[in-house]
C-alpha cells in the first residue's frame, strides 16, 4: 500500500497513549514467544491475558482464598468482598444501573444464554409462543432455544441477513409479531458486522417481548451502556476480554431477574431449605448455585480495569485502523483470489476478517500460516447455519485486539502469499 500517512501507521501501532510494543510487555505470552514469530490473530476465539490478570488471581489464591458467602473469619470475608467487588466492577463497565444486584456470574456467555433461556422458558414459553433469533447467531444462541423448542414446542423465527452480513430488517414487524423473547448477537463472529441492538430492543419491546443481547464478541471491543441500549438481558464472556476462562456473566434488569426462576439449584442460591421445599435467595445469588469461580471473577475484574485504563474508544479506533489496513492490503495483494465475507468498510464492522482463498481450504491455509507463526481460526466458527448461507464449509478468520499492530497484518499477508504459492 502506497498511501499510508504517519497518523494511520501510528494508529495501528498505538492504542490511546500506549504503543503496542509497550502493551505487549504486559502479556507474558509475547515474552515466551520471542524466539519465534508469534502473530496472534485469533482473539475472536479467545484473547491473551495480561500479567495484571494472572497476578490478581495468583495473589488471591496465595493470600486470601476461602469460600465466599460462608465463613465469618477474616480471609473468608475478604474473599467475599473481592468477589462482590468484581461483580460491581463488571456491572459498572457495562453501565448496569444496579451493578451489585444485576450481574450473575456464569461460566461463559454460553452458560449465560442457557441460564436466560431455561429460566425465561419456564414462566414464559408455551407451545403457541414465538422466539425470534437471527440467522447469524453462533451455536450458543441457537442450540439452547432448539433444545427448549423440542421440549415445549414453540416456534423459532429468524431475522435474515443480507449478502454483506447485515441484518435485513425489512420484515421485522412481521417476524416479531406475537413473540415473547427476542435474542440477537451484538456483533457477528463471522462478518464482524454490528447489529442495530437499540432498534431491535425497541421493536421487541413494542411487541411485549423480552430482549436478550449476546455480547460475547462485542463487549471486549466497544464501550457499552445497557441502559442506553434499552436491552433486558446481556450475555458476556471473560476470556475474550483479557480475562481468564471459566468466567462470564449474565446482566439483567433487576425487576426481570427477580421474576425469573432459578436455573440451577444448589448451595448459595437458597435462602432456606426444608425437606418439603426451598426459598430461593435474592438476586443475583439465586442464579449462582454452588461455589462460584472466585479467582476467575477477580481476574475478570482486573481485566476490566486494564481495558478501562487503555480506554474502550481508543481500543475501537486501533482495531478499526488495523481492519481498514488489512481489508485494503488483502484486496490489493490477492484481488479476487481471496474472498472477504462481510462489508469492506472498516467503520461498519468489528475487528474481524473472515475470508477464503481460492483453491486452498481454510484448514490447509491455517496450517500453512502457522508455519509462519500466524495464528488464525479456520472452521465454521460455531456458526454452521451462517456457513451454509455463504455456501462454504468453513472460512479462515483473523481477528484483532490491543496487542496487534501493522506488522501483524503484514505478516498475515506475507504468509497468505506463501500459502497461495504452495498450493498453486
Amino acid at each position: 500500500m502506497d498511501s499510508l500517512s504517519a497518523t494511520e501507521i501510528d494508529q495501528m501501532d498505538r492504542v490511546g497513549n500506549r504503543t503496542v510494543a509497550e502493551i505487549r510487555k504486559d502479556f507474558p505470552i509475547y515474552r515466551r514467544a520471542q524466539d519465534s514469530a508469534f502473530v496472534f490473530l485469533d482473539s475472536g476465539a479467545s484473547s491473551q491475558k495480561p500479567t495484571a490478570v494472572l497476578d490478581a488471581m495468583d495473589t488471591y489464591y496465595s493470600t486470601t482464598h476461602a469460600n465466599v458467602h460462608r465463613g465469618v473469619y477474616a480471609i473468608a470475608e475478604r474473599a467475599t468482598e473481592l468477589y462482590e467487588n468484581a461483580r460491581v466492577t463488571l456491572g459498572r463497565f457495562i453501565g448496569a444501573p444496579k451493578p451489585a444486584r444485576e450481574i450473575v456470574f456464569t461460566k461463559n456467555a454460553t452458560e449465560a444464554i442457557n441460564l436466560a433461556a431455561y429460566s425465561l422458558a419456564r414462566n414464559l414459553l408455551r407451545s403457541e409462543s414465538v422466539v425470534v433469533l437471527t440467522e447469524m447467531e453462533h451455536h450458543a444462541n441457537l442450540v439452547p432455544w432448539m433444545i427448549l423448542k423440542e421440549q415445549i414446542g414453540f416456534e423459532i423465527r429468524y431475522i435474515p441477513f443480507d449478502a454483506d452480513g447485515f441484518l435485513d430488517l425489512s420484515h421485522l414487524d412481521e417476524i416479531l409479531d406475537g413473540s415473547s423473547i427476542v435474542a440477537a448477537t451484538m456483533a457477528s463472529n463471522v462478518f464482524g458486522t454490528l447489529t442495530p441492538i437499540k432498534e431491535l430492543a425497541e421493536a421487541a419491546h413494542s411487541k411485549g417481548a423480552i430482549f436478550l443481547a449476546d455480547g460475547a464478541q462485542y463487549v471486549p471491543h466497544y464501550k457499552i451502556d445497557v441502559k442506553e441500549l434499552g436491552i433486558d438481558l446481556l450475555a458476556m464472556t471473560g476470556h475474550k476480554m483479557l480475562g481468564p476462562t471459566g468466567i462470564g456473566a449474565l446482566w439483567g434488569r433487576e425487576e426481570l431477574l427477580k421474576k425469573m426462576p432459578p436455573f440451577m439449584g444448589g448451595g448459595d442460591m437458597i435462602e432456606d431449605v426444608r425437606l418439603d421445599g426451598f426459598t430461593p435467595n435474592e438476586v443475583p445469588y439465586k442464579f449462582e448455585a454452588g461455589t462460584p469461580p472466585i479467582a476467575e471473577a477477580i481476574g475478570l475484574a482486573e481485566a476490566v480495569r486494564y481495558l478501562e485504563a487503555i480506554g474502550m474508544d481508543e481500543i475501537r479506533l486501533h482495531e478499526e485502523s488495523l481492519l481498514d489496513y488489512a481489508l485494503k492490503t488483502i484486496g490489493e495483494n490477492f484481488g479476487d483470489s481471496v474472498v472477504v465475507y462481510g462489508p469492506t468498510d472498516a467503520t461498519k464492522k468489528g475487528g474481524v476478517v473472515s475470508f477464503t482463498m481460492e483453491g486452498v481450504h481454510p484448514h490447509d491455509l491455517s496450517q500453512i500460516l502457522d508455519q509462519s507463526g500466524v495464528c488464525v481460526r479456520a472452521g465454521h466458527h460455531c456458526a454452521k447455519p451462517v456457513m451454509k448461507r455463504l455456501g462454504v464449509g468453513a472460512t479462515a478468520r483473523a481477528s484483532f485486539y490491543i496487542y496487534n499492530d501493522k506488522s501483524d497484518v503484514d505478516s498475515l499477508v506475507e504468509a497468505l502469499a506463501k500459502a497461495q504459492a504452495f498450493f498453486a
Partner: protein, 153 residues
Amino acid sequence: MSGLEDLYREIILDHYKNPRNQGELPTPPAVVEQGHNPLCGDEVFVYIEMDGDTIADIKIGGQGCSISRSSASMMSTAVKGKNSEEVHELIHRFKAMMSVEEERPGHEGEADLKEFGELAALQGVVKFPVRIKCATLAWNTLNQALERVQQAG
C-alpha cells in the same frame, strides 16, 4: 516450511487437485453414508455399489480440506474391486497408521507400507494430531456404509 512437506506430500496435493471417483451413484442400488467432522465442518458422502461381496463402484461427494479430500480420493482407488474382508482389513490398517497409540505398520515392516501404495503418503498426518480426524473421516464413513450393506443383506 519444514514439516509441511511431511504433511502435504506431492501425491496428496495431486489427489486434492484431481480427486478420483468424485460424484454420486444412484441409491439404490448403491448405498450412501454421510460423515461430518464437527470441528471444522468438513463433510463427506461415500457411495458404494456392491457386486456380491465386492465393492464394484465407489464415489465420493462433499467438501473439505486437502487432507480429508485426498484421503477420500486415495481410499476410493484403494478399495474399488476389493471384497468386504479386504476392505475391512485396509480400514483397520489405515486407522492403525493414523493412530498415535495403536501399533503402527511401517516401523518393523517397510513391506507393509509398500502395500499401502499411495496411502503411505498420509503417514505424515500423524505428526499433526488435529488433522488426523480429517484423514480418517472418509474411512469411518466407508465403514458405516459397509455396515449398512451388511444390515440390508
